[in-house]
């Protein structure tokens, strides 16, 4: 059994210093002189064989003994002995530290978080790092971050470890392992150490090419949290706010849920959450103006994770949907008349139609340049599709359609007659269409009849045939189809449904075009952002739950809340075994990762004590023979 070893055994040559030490001691020893009446007795004493035994002689030179001890301890410390902790040591070891939201959970009231526990264990490893060992610290939540390269600089590693903070987002182990794999190409290693609570999917799509030492942290305490928050506009114009409360496997008990609108409490409810069950509730909020909702969950008992006790939702104000439909599309305008909350442009009495719209439906290509998040082109091939699709006149019929597409919900298209014939261009197919970002929703005989493209600018539908040259306007499904398009426009405009803002990335913020702002995070740090030409600020990182303020010249322009709404993080469930590709499974390590215990600090402390003893002995006032 290997108990330990030395990292720098070559330093034993320092033992040769014993010779000069003894030499200098006897050369330099200066004893204080003390005159006594007679040496008669002392000479007899010192001639006694008991005094002259080698051990007694050595005892007389206590100062030399202390100096030799001091040197021995120093030399022993210089050889850097260590007490073997683990089965063996790796020369290079990447260390993955999970810092997702669940790692902030405490084990008990007043206890330590999972991340703090992981940091403690990594710190022990750093402290016991041998001179020929290198660690690479990588933290990961939904994205991995390489904090250090492979190094044995303990100060650097400790600083990097201190920088690891919990992000209130789920973890993505796959991305972290891919980063580690990339590291291994330049600096090979055999083993990777993973510190996590196991709160990630049990199946990871990754080809494991190294040994993974999965150090699963002890489970956290019970937790209740908000796992869903959304709002839907009711027919009355008000908002129905849906809240879902879930807990970890061992969480149960009472809690209160309070709803705040623009900072004012407007509703409160007491709930009881049973073990393994979710609790749902609905609040009514007037939708006459835009407002900011905050849901606060306050469990009665201990709650290990605080980040999921708050959720935020921005409700848009109530307004009619602005729809542009040219007067030539009579059937569409007529279908829109049956839908409440629609403001059609141009109006019947006027041709004026300016400004931004929520929905543009037109059979004129130039109308597609109007500003709107939802657009429906009718009867022509959009310019970007002209490469893939061409319009013929031989007529077509519907072969199939995507019945699960929201825009085709409850729309029956069987036996639809179409005079136009959209068809794929020579050598083009559906795959090319998909590569261009379009998705076919209705399939004709020779090509797609309806395609959809969704991007950051909104959603665009393109009916590649003109409805006026088809039997669609005469079918029951046509007003339903128009209503579905309107519903899609409502969703795009945020007028039909509102979802809670999640942590990770803030939703796009509409501000002044080209404006420069500062985003103030819940930790009161600021980050500069610039709005694009449309006044949109997007991609703002929101790693922590809380309010994010948009500042312009120090003045708050807007506040956006972001909260953790991940059921998996709230559940604090941890997987004991990770399954990788090719049915490769990695179970949690059965033993806590033990590090080699360096003995040199202890030896140095002992040496210091010996040195102090020697100093005291050397400096103390000589006694006797006053």
């Amino acid at each position: 059994m290997n108990w330990g070893g030395f990292q720098a055994l070559s330093h034993l040559w320092l033992l040769s210093l014993l010779a000069p030490l003894a030499l200098f001691y006897f050369l330099k020893l200066k004893r204080p002189r003390a005159e006594i009446p007679s040496l008669v007795l002392w000479r007899q004493v010192l001639q006694d064989h008991r005094v002259n035994s080698p051990f007694q002689k050595f005892k007389r030179n206590l100062l030399l003994l202390l100096q030799i001890l001091l040197l021995l301890f120093l030399v022993f410390a210089a050889t850097q002995p260590f007490w073997r902790g683990g089965p063996g040591k790796q020369r290079r070891l990447p260390v993955l530290v999970d810092c997702s939201a669940s790692m902030d959970a405490l084990d008990k009231p007043g206890g330590v978080s999972r991340l703090a526990e992981a940091k403690r264990r990594v710190r022990e490893m750093i402290d016991g790092l041998a001179s020929d060992q290198e660690l690479c610290l990588i933290s990961f939540d939904n994205t991995p971050r390489k904090l250090t390269g492979f190094t044995n600089d303990k100060r650097l590693l400790r600083d990097a470890l201190d920088q690891i903070q919990v992000a209130d987002v789920p973890s993505d182990l796959e991305e972290a392992l891919r980063l580690v794999q990339a590291l291994g190409r330049s600096e090979p290693f055999d083993e990777v150490l993973l510190f996590s609570d196991g709160n990630f999917p049990p199946r990871v799509n990754f080809d494991l090419s190294f040994k993974l030492n999965y150090q699963r942290l002890s489970p956290a305490g019970p937790n209740l949290g908000i796992t869903a928050l959304s709002a839907q506009r009711a027919v009355t114009g008000a908002w129905d706010v849906f809240v879902q409360i879930e807990g970890s496997a061992d969480a149960e008990g009472n809690a209160s849920v309070e709803l705040f609108e623009d900072g004012n409490s407007i509703a409160s409810e007491r709930i009881t959450v049973a073990r393994g069950r979710a609790q749902r509730m609905v609040f009514q909020v007037k939708g006459d103006h835009a407002s900011s909702l905050r849901v606060q969950l306050t469990p009665d008992g201990f709650d290990s994770l605080a980040a999921d006790n708050m959720a935020y939702l921005d409700l848009p104000g109530s307004r009619p949907l602005r729809v542009f439909v040219p007067k030539s599309l009579v059937t569409y305008r007529r279908a829109l008349q049956g839908i409440r909350g629609i403001q059609s442009f141009p109006q019947e009495t006027s041709d004026e139609a300016s400004g931004a719209f929520d929905l543009v439906m037109s059979d004129r290509p130039q109308d597609m340049d109007l500003v709107a998040r939802t657009k429906l082109s009718v009867g022509f091939i959009p310019p970007e599709l002209e490469r893939f699709v061409e319009l013929g006149t031989n007529g077509s019929s519907v072969v199939d359609w995507r019945r699960d597409a929201p825009v085709l919900q409850h729309v029956q298209l069987a036996d639809l007659m179409v005079l136009d014939q959209p068809r794929f261009a020579a050598g083009e197919g559906e795959g090319d269409l998909e590569n261009a970002g379009y998705e076919a929703l209705i399939y004709g005989q020779r090509g797609p009849l309806l395609v959809r493209k969704q991007d950051s600018d909104g959603v665009r539908f393109a009916l590649l045939f003109h409805t006026d040259r088809s039997t669609l306007p005469y079918r029951v499904g046509f007003p339903i189809f128009v209503a579905n398009v309107v519903q899609a426009a409502l969703e795009q405009a945020g007028l039909a449904e509102a979802l809670a803002n999640r942590t990770g990335v803030l939703p796009p913020l509409t501000l002044a075009p080209g404006g420069r702002y500062q985003i103030q995070t819940p930790e009161q740090t600021t980050e500069p952002v610039t709005a694009d030409d449309h006044g949109i600020v997007s991609g703002v990182a929101a790693p922590r739950a809380g309010f994010y303020s948009v500042l312009e010249n120090g003045v708050t322009r807007r506040r956006v809340g972001a909260g953790l709404l991940s059921p998996s993080e709230t559940s604090l469930a941890g997987v004991a075994q990770i399954e990788f590709n090719e049915q490769l499974q990695v179970a949690e390590a059965s033993a806590v990762m033990k590090t080699d215990w360096p003995l040199w600090p202890t030896l140095l402390m002992v040496a210091l004590v010996v040195m102090l003893a020697e100093w005291w002995f050397f400096q103390k006032k000589p006694g006797g023979w006053k």
């Binding site: 003390a34 006594i36 008991r50 005094v51």
Partner: protein
């Protein structure tokens, strides 16, 4: 009212009260060693004093004046009356005045002790002589034998003038003393007895000369309980020789063992020569030594 003026001190060695008490005391040696000359001490042999001692059978040649005629008339046999013989005792004082006695008041105790023995001798009509040893090889300072109360001042002046110096070994001092001395009695040796020499030979010579050794060893507190707590270079005050010692409990224990051994050896030396031995600390008051220790151990009565 007439004021009483205090009596002037006779000597700086002993206070008047100590002297008053000493007048009532006398030296009590273990054996009866006296000189042939007539004195106040009864000899073991028959003498011509007026104090009857015993009868013995008449032998031809005996002085017929001492025949008890009354007994002869009753028993018809001659018996000779015997009387105690009163002989003179010699008190020899030897004060070790080497440099080693200067430490921690050793000589300051030795001088009054020697003076006290001298006083007791003089007041009891004994011959008192005093010697001090200083330099090795040199003759000891000497106060010739004297007798009687009138010699007190001479004794005090001699002892008061003693100063600690020199490296005279005690054994050598005894030999030199015996060159000048004659007569039987006691020899009071006041010393630390820390000598490299052979004291056995010196004590044998004292015994052969008819002097009963009465040794008083005076050691300083530091010699009795040395406090060596570090590495030291000890320097002999007489020879200036050096010795390196390091503090250790074992070393001090050995020292005590050897010191006790020296005491035992000295006591044995004295006892085998019908003498006495007393170790005292220089910190002990002279009154305590005289009227407590010496009296309790029967040195004086």
């Amino acid at each position: 009212m007439e004021l009483l003026t205090p009596r002037p001190q006779m000597t700086t060695l002993l206070t008047n009260s100590v002297l008053d008490r000493l007048q009532r005391l006398r030296i009590r040696p273990a054996g009866k060693r006296t000189s042939r000359s007539r004195g106040e001490h009864l000899s073991g042999k028959g003498g011509t004093s007026t104090e009857f001692c015993d009868y013995r059978d008449y032998s031809p040649g005996d002085d017929t004046r001492f025949v008890d005629w009354n007994i002869f008339a009753r028993l018809h046999r001659p018996y000779l009356k015997q009387f105690h013989k009163e002989e003179e005792r010699h008190v020899v004082l030897l004060i070790d005045a080497s440099a080693s006695m200067k430490f921690e008041g050793k000589l300051d105790l030795a001088k009054p002790l020697a003076a006290a023995f001298g006083v007791m001798g003089l007041l009891n009509n004994e011959r008192v002589s005093a010697y001090t040893s200083h330099q090795a090889g040199g003759a000891p300072d000497r106060m010739p034998p004297c007798r009687g109360r009138a010699s007190l001042r001479t004794l005090f002046q001699f002892i008061e003038s003693v100063e600690g110096r020199g490296d005279a070994p005690l054994d050598r001092a005894v030999e030199l003393l015996l060159r000048h001395h004659s007569g039987r009695g006691v020899c009071v040796i006041v010393s630390d007895f820390l000598t490299f020499g052979d004291l056995k030979r010196s004590f044998n010579m004292l015994f052969a000369a008819g002097l009963e050794p009465m040794g008083i060893q005076i050691l300083s507190p530091q010699e009795i309980e040395p406090d060596v707590t570090s590495d030291l270079r000890l320097v002999d005050s007489e020879t200036q020789e050096t010795l390196d010692v390091s503090s250790s409990a074992d070393l001090l224990n050995l020292y005590q063992e050897y010191r006790q051994g020296l005491e035992n050896d000295l006591a044995l030396l004295c006892r085998r020569r019908q003498g006495r031995f007393l170790p005292v600390s220089s910190a002990t008051p002279v009154e305590s030594v005289l009227f407590d220790q010496l009296r309790r151990q029967g040195w004086i009565e």
